[in-house]
């Protein structure tokens, strides 16, 4: 039972590590690393779902009767492309954030945002 679901265990462990990094870390790059890990775990989940015991690669040939399900492979190829686009966009946002705020730490960014608000209030009172 435990060994048979080995892949699923790995998927869940990776997924939780990824999600934890996204939530717990304040560094924007580390968050993206966590997000990537989280997405990758789902890719493994789809790929292991497609495995058929005793099946080979899904290539049409005369002497092959049993092969793995090719559909999840095709699906996950799409999802990988989407994942790459997401990460590229996230990284480029981080570059812009670094240029605008001078930092990629969540705390520092929030401190600066609150600072602006506090300044505005002071000006209004004055």
């Amino acid at each position: 039972m435990l060994i048979g679901l080995f892949n699923n265990w790995i998927v869940v462990i990776l997924m939780m590590i990824g999600l934890y990094i996204v939530i717990a870390h304040g560094n924007l790059i580390k968050k993206i690393v966590g997000l990537t890990l989280f997405q990758t775990s789902v890719f493994i989940f789809y790929i292991s779902m497609a495995k058929v015991v005793g099946g080979t690669a899904p290539i049409l040939a005369d002497d092959i009767i049993q092969y793995s399900n090719p559909l999840p492979h095709a699906l996950i190829l799409t999802a990988i492309v989407v994942g790459i686009a997401t990460i590229a966009l996230a990284l480029s946002l981080v570059i812009r954030i670094k240029a605008a705020y001078g930092s990629i730490e969540e705390e520092e960014i929030q401190r600066q945002d609150n600072q602006i608000q506090a300044d505005k209030k002071e000006r209004k009172q004055a």
């Binding site: 996204v22 799409t78 686009a85």
Partner: protein
């Protein structure tokens, strides 16, 4: 040609997006995008007509038969949503060029339209498709382009808002992906129609429960249901004004559609509402969302923030209607999807006009604006009255259906709470009206004039629509009712 309409609806803006890059001048790109968006609007009208007269349209992509190939399936519900999205997109585009000249750097104008059309493609695609994995792909197309659009905002906080939305949105989309994977594992199909037939056989397994949980949480992240709404206020407040007007009226509506489609069509009514206690859960979250978001709105000084919170509250109304799970309740939700798009789009376009003249939408910028920009402010007031639910506006129609659905079930305490929440809406609107009409204009703003005509036309088209559909309710109610009935399987 006519038989290809379901796919053309999505393909036209998708193909048009890269073509935008050929044009050098922003004005030309604007006219081209307007044309493309108008074309999708025309297609959606034709689709709705066809669906209302002759029933469900099914389109097989590339000629591959349904459970194997990807199917686009247009029924009354999709056709209604397609109409809303394409209509709003076209109306918003009228004001786009004038607005972005002030808010976005000149060299990014062409890219703005590319992203706008891609985002439109994604939303239309989510609604049109009948394939669960295709939903994920279109969801990511619309999300990725919307992250980039939000990051185009002038304020540097737009970047931070976009990043936060990206993290939340990606987690949401990946949750949906996991759910779809689990469903595929149990049934071996991705076609929604096929799923709805095969899921009941395996409904009592833990895998299906898990799939349901993942998919619903993912969708709720996207539709900003309380308590998953934290990404929304900043994203709406710091995005370019025109983007806010477009998203406030369409993005969350698409997520509502997805929620309805998944719970009613794919998992089925008895699984979603009997096996799983979705009713009490959504009722509670919807009501808490209405109150918390309305109270937060009262304390906002940035008016875009204020109406972003108000949007979260309005989503609460839709969720309450949805959780009643009767034909009237669902009709109320669908009507509110339509009506809220009209009101919020008018309000956010009016705010875009204020932004154009004053460069900011803080509450103190509104001092005396009732006299300086009378038409723009009047539109905010009319759309605001509609938000409260005054008779003769669309807001009244959807509130009426929501209340009658609640009273049908005998849940009058909930009905009382809904009416109380309207008072909170009055409070936050009054803050704007008081400043705009009863205060003297600021000295710095003495030269402010009425908004340009390209703003006034779309704003007043929507405002008049707010009143027109509040009086002549035949079209909206008839379609919403027919869609709700077909989801309950009462009519084919």
């Amino acid at each position: 040609m006519i038989s290809h309409l379901p796919v053309l609806q999505v393909i036209v803006p998708l193909m048009a997006a890269p073509i935008c890059l050929i044009f050098k001048r922003a004005q030309l790109v604007w006219l081209f995008s307007l044309l493309v968006s108008g074309l999708t609007f025309l297609i959606s009208i034709l689709l709705l007509q066809q669906v209302m007269t002759s029933g469900v349209l099914s389109y097989e992509l590339g000629g591959w038969q349904a459970p194997w190939g990807i199917e686009y399936r247009i029924d009354k519900l999709n056709a209604f949503l397609l109409l809303i999205i394409s209509a709003i997109s076209t109306i918003v585009l009228f004001a786009a060029q004038t607005s972005i000249e002030k808010e976005i750097d000149k060299n990014k104008h062409t890219l703005f339209y590319v992203l706008y059309l891609l985002s439109l493609t994604g939303m239309l695609g989510i609604v049109a498709t009948g394939d669960a994995f295709n939903v994920f792909v279109f969801l990511e197309i619309s999300s990725l382009s919307s992250y980039a659009l939000i990051a185009m905002g002038k304020n540097k906080r737009a970047l931070w808002a976009s990043y936060q939305y990206l993290i939340m949105g990606t987690i949401g989309a990946t949750f949906i992906l996991i759910g779809v994977g689990l469903m595929y594992q149990m049934t071996g199909t991705l076609n929604m129609q096929d799923l709805s037939q095969r899921l009941p056989e395996v409904a009592q397994t833990r895998t299906v429960f898990t799939a349901f949980a993942f998919v619903i949480v993912g969708v709720c992240l996207k539709l900003a249901l309380f308590p998953l709404h934290h990404w929304l206020p900043n994203a709406y407040a710091y995005a370019p004004s025109i983007v806010t007007a477009f998203f406030a009226a369409t993005a969350t509506k698409v997520a509502i559609y997805l929620l309805i489609r998944l719970t009613f069509s794919v998992f089925g009514l008895s699984f979603s509402f009997t096996t799983i206690p979705l009713q009490s859960l959504f009722m509670a979250l919807g009501l808490i969302g209405i109150f918390i978001a309305s109270i937060s709105a009262i304390y906002q000084n940035n008016i875009k923030h204020l109406f972003a919170y108000s949007s979260i509250a309005q989503i609460g109304y839709m969720i309450v209607g949805f959780s009643i799970s009767t034909v009237t309740g669902l009709t109320a939700t669908l009507l509110h999807v339509f009506n809220h798009a009209l009101m919020k789009c008018a309000i956010f376009l009016a705010l875009a006009a204020v932004m154009y003249r004053l460069d900011d939408v803080q509450l103190n910028n509104f001092h005396g604006l009732g006299r300086q920009m009378p038409l723009t402010m009047a539109a905010i007031v009319v759309a605001g009255l509609s938000l409260i639910g005054m008779p003769l506006t669309v807001g009244f129609v959807s509130k009426w259906y929501l209340l009658s659905a609640l009273l049908e079930q005998g849940w009058w305490p909930v009905a009382v709470l809904i009416l109380l929440a309207a008072i909170l809406t009055v409070v936050y609107l009054w803050r704007i009206i008081e400043v705009a009409y009863f205060k003297q204009p600021l000295v710095d703003n003495a030269a402010v004039k009425e908004a340009p005509i390209l703003f006034l036309v779309p704003i007043w088209t929507l405002t008049i629509a707010n009143i027109y559909f509040g009086i002549d309710t035949r079209l909206s109610v008839q379609v919403a009712q027919a869609a709700a009935q077909s989801l309950f399987g009462l009519t084919p």
